[in-house]
Subunit: 146 residues, 12 copies
């Protein structure tokens, strides 16, 4: 049994209330629940942390080193400028999935560039709430082949 | 039962032989088989076309209009310049997934920009062969909620 | 009597079905018919080829050398990257008209730059189906003064 | 019977004298006459104003609101920087045609970008004196379908 | 009692008629009246000039030197390219306020850069008709502390 | 009576001590007091939070949703890179004013671009301490017309 | 005896009063007088026009065609965006000198690029009032060798 | 005896007819013959394929894997945008020569950047018909030292 | 005796464990110890704070004003986007040294630009653990000459 | 009597032979002679050095410090990249004239930017051989007013 | 018998010792010898000069004018900034070959742009030591057809 | 005992005289002396060469190969364009320190980018004369750990 850390960046605590036409009507709890169920179905455990503070996410990534097998991170807006999170992800050896609810390529210009994406294993973006299950699947596929 | 069209762009016919350190050792047939199995497990049918010819992919997208419920496209290098495929994808109303074996953000600069990504529902990138199953799951999640 | 070659690029075969709020409800056949009628009214013959394959358009331009008096080309998305078509147009000595149904300057950023436009006599853009007749008129005006 | 306003921007008063290898040997009066004849043949009336003063063109566009059915504007060099004219065109509800004698895409780099083109219905460029008749035809086609 | 010069750039004469969803339904007279009332309430006199001609605005700025205590300028589209107005503003020693009805940062890309903003005391943008009163208040606050 | 939230970003706690030739000699308490007085004079209540921590500002914006009628935010340096605050502001439905003491357009190049400005109602910049009262006025004008 | 047209662009009427540390303390009349004296000493006649209106300068260039042997133009801020003046200069066959009092390369970034400089014979910049005499000398040298 | 594959991209079939001042008067057959003779003189066999279809070139590169010792490719305009051909070349382990008749650095700006050049062994450009023999020599030198 | 504040930005707490081939095998404690020893040898006192939270670093800089003689800051990834730290450094009057273990110029493109470097006295980069002693020496040299 | 140093950069030794349609048919000796005659007519002495070695020009500028009253430098191609010469010019307190025979703004793109121009008093460009006399006049005007 | 000048730029004297994995193990003497042998085999004479001084290469190009029939230049790093050498090459009328041992397109970004390449007949790059013979062949082919 | 080569680039011979507010009042001899004393105190020998000629610096780097243990280079303006020196530094295996008296990040835009910095071990910048001792210390620390 592996521990998968799910990290949610700024403004994701408002999921369901915030621009539902873009982010969907599910709450963050709904999404985390989906991810937990998917992880447990695969015999793994999912931990979750949401914060609007960049440093909290960096700290959490550090704490997961050696303890967690994978990180799924929806960095929210931090994707577009937080080199600190990028550097933190680089210090983590396991599977790393960058997850976005919406498809950043189809939105404002500044959302097209992710500074964190170069430091993860892969990306899942644009599938709304369903992305949470997919990200867990991606992690599990990786753990299985490891 | 829905039909899911899987499209593979240029050079993907060489999967398994071509730069396995980047693209993995599975053949395209292996990947397509994974996707087919996943689709069938969900009660859907997967069709596949690989071509090194941009026009073939455009034609296939056109033919799928009204007949297929979703398109999974790994445009290969066409991601980075084929506005013709981007325009073709825009004519298709169903779910559209852009799939990459490797994580383009972690490779050459020119792979960081996809001209097609703005015209799909979402993106799955960086999970190698496992991405094929994930893309089918992404489609199915979308079909279930439709 | 001169032969005018009308070339239609990728996705134009879907005219009338595809984003009618942008491209109008006329089919490609309607547009070609308008162009033919206009050409015949001026004593000329119009030939038409549509293809989603860049190479087909290059081939067609080559075949028209010495045989046709003018080319009207709606390159569709190829306008924005096909230097091969640009080079092909440069090999044709007659009048060349680049035709667009919509006004590319009023759409996505990437549609504002045409790599083919530097290699034609002139451009007609934004007048929808009526542009076909206008393009033929432009050709005829050029043939009359030649 | 509709009124069509033809606006000519800076330096167009020198047509015929100025770089005839680029702009042709016809005078502005010749071009305006062509446009008038074409308009009258279609039952419309053409008015013309040339000015080297940006503000005169803005004023004229304002005066045409509600009185004219269409504007044909050859903004000359103003195409490349006059956001004031762009804004003025945006206040006019009828058909708007941007007209150029030469093909800007085939000339100096700075002529490739038009700041006004995003605010017109369509563009006719590169057909010299014949463009005047084509622009009137474009307007008439638009009026007919309105 | 100080004189405050209010300058209105191109197309502002159409306020109330022009894109009311962006610029509001108040006329320029309404806005100027608001500013006058606000100025008089503070014991100052407001003068107003609107022109679609860049040179008129430059001339007016020159005439105000030594005679007016402050300039409020809504340069309209001139904000984005008129270095002549920027230079004119640099010659005026009093308080200078750049005023915009809409919020340029939330509109087209080209509206995000103002060439005049570096040469004024401050900017008030995005508050519609209410901005006129605010700009006068800004001027008065400055005059009081001078 | 409405609640107006005033947010002050990093380094604003040093107001009055920090580069007074740029930011003035008033302390943050002075500025907040001005804003409070102005709000109370209009029958509203002003709350204030200053933090050097981006996450604190995001949290505060979240807490104000549904409780406050307006936000006045001087994001300080966060204006230039905090997409997290930009996204947070987008989740707030009331009036939003971006406030700067100095005129960013007249300073270093990097201060000319605000990533938050596209997500507010309007901007007040360059009027020093007086800007606090102006921002409150801007909010009140907006509340009155709502 | 040749006629030399000296054109002065926007804000140059304020010479001597405006930023004397940059532009010097001589008035425009002083500068024009220097140029006239220099021209007469060489047997030529100097005419002068100053305007803050771009169109006036374009008109003046047109009127000088065939009548004047040379143009000396200090376009002021128009150097940096007036393609209309650039095009007008291109219609004039004689010697053309672009003159600047200050050295634009040593000032703000936007002054480093002149859109008119590509359309003149040569440039004299940075020598203050003395530049007027130098520009006349440059013209005379050109007339002598013509 | 090694097989050398010579690939000719779009518009090269018109060699000798097309802009001979740039590309020379030799036909493609002449050039291919030169290459064949050079190859045979060195004991090797040269195969040739010309196509205006990008996919044909990709297919041909694939077919040559394991069968040919080297590829000489004149991608024509494809050099400037075909990442598909770049990727195909990356799958070929032997010597790869990019060949151009003209010197792209001395022509239009867009010809200065080759997206394929990073994926070949070396480049021969600018020597017209003679380049064909030189490219074969380059291949042979490489084979000799392998 | 002066107090020197040493600040360590995000991820530096992992020094020794994190990419030792880049950052070396010494721990942060080792580095801080080196700096303390060097400071004490010069009769000064070194204080240290590490945080992954940008706001903590800003707060610490503020607290050091008037109390510390110098700041040595290794901002880690914050160097590349934290204008908040840049602004905080600008409020500190003493000597400021930006310190990097690796040589950012020899790594990813985004590490080549530091937004904080313009606001410090000087930079020491690339010397690994030895840089800590060098930075203290740089501070001491500055204090000696002050 | 003042000493004026005239410096000629790379390739200027070929003046008269090298691209006379651009640089004229006068030799460098002719140009230097013109400058000397002009200097002597004004009671000054002109020294000249030509070198194709950047370091020679830097050395010469250094040697002129305190000995020469002015420098006229035609840096040739060094204008476009030699920051070493720019820095050297910055160390010279007298009048400095950058001189070009041709008008760089009307030639290749790379000639439009001069890295040295920000460090001189003024520029004379485009007047061919006559520029040498003009540059001396510019220097003398400066010396007279000093 | 023609004289061919071979020029070697900075750091090429270290060939064989310097990064042999990039530049090969042959010394410059080996390469020059290859070129000489090739030239003599064709009845020509090869002269060689290596220098780390840009001016030496400019001087050598000048001296070769009228005396040598061709220049082969490996400008080394000068390719990327020496406009002085570019200008010098432009003064030479014979065949000019730019030669690189490695393939600059496959290395650091800054090596992809050559400022000299626009001023030569053609380029040979990427073939290591064998490039020397190829460059001589390229020259001979050119001399034969001249 | 190791030999440390100290290289000083263009204009550094004027240290103490040249812009002392930027570069300080110490002469180059003073700085070199500091470095020598520091080196000797550590048991090493310092050699120094200053030149305004890029080639001299390249030559000196070459001569130091195998003979010197480290290079300290203050490339002056060469930092910003001399790829030849960058390439030369790449051929030297020992410790390499880039040294600047001032902090280039706090000066003109063009000083922010160093083309040589990617090819050295580390950088010391902004500490004036004291930087010379620090650079020697940096070298010694490196030699001690080697």
């Amino acid at each position: 049994m592996a521990i998968i850390l799910l990290l949610s960046g700024p403004n994701l605590n408002l999921l369901g209330e915030r621009e539902p036409q873009i982010y969907g009507s599910a709450s963050l709890a709904d999404c985390v629940s989906d991810a937990s169920v998917a992880a447990e179905a695969r015999g793994h455990l999912l931990e979750h942390l949401q914060s609007n503070h960049e440093g909290d996410l960096v700290d959490a990534i550090h704490r997961s080193r050696g303890r967690c097998a994978a990180i799924i991170v929806n960095p929210g807006a931090f994707s577009h400028y937080s080199y600190a999170i990028a550097d933190a992800l680089a210090t983590f050896d396991g599977t790393k999935v960058e997850l976005h609810l919406s498809n950043p390529s189809a939105r404002e210009e500044w959302r097209r560039h992710s500074v964190t994406a170069a430091y993860v294993t892969g990306v899942v973006a644009g599938f709304g709430r369903a992305g949470y299950g997919l990200a867990v699947e991606a992690v599990c596929a990786s753990l299985d082949t490891a």
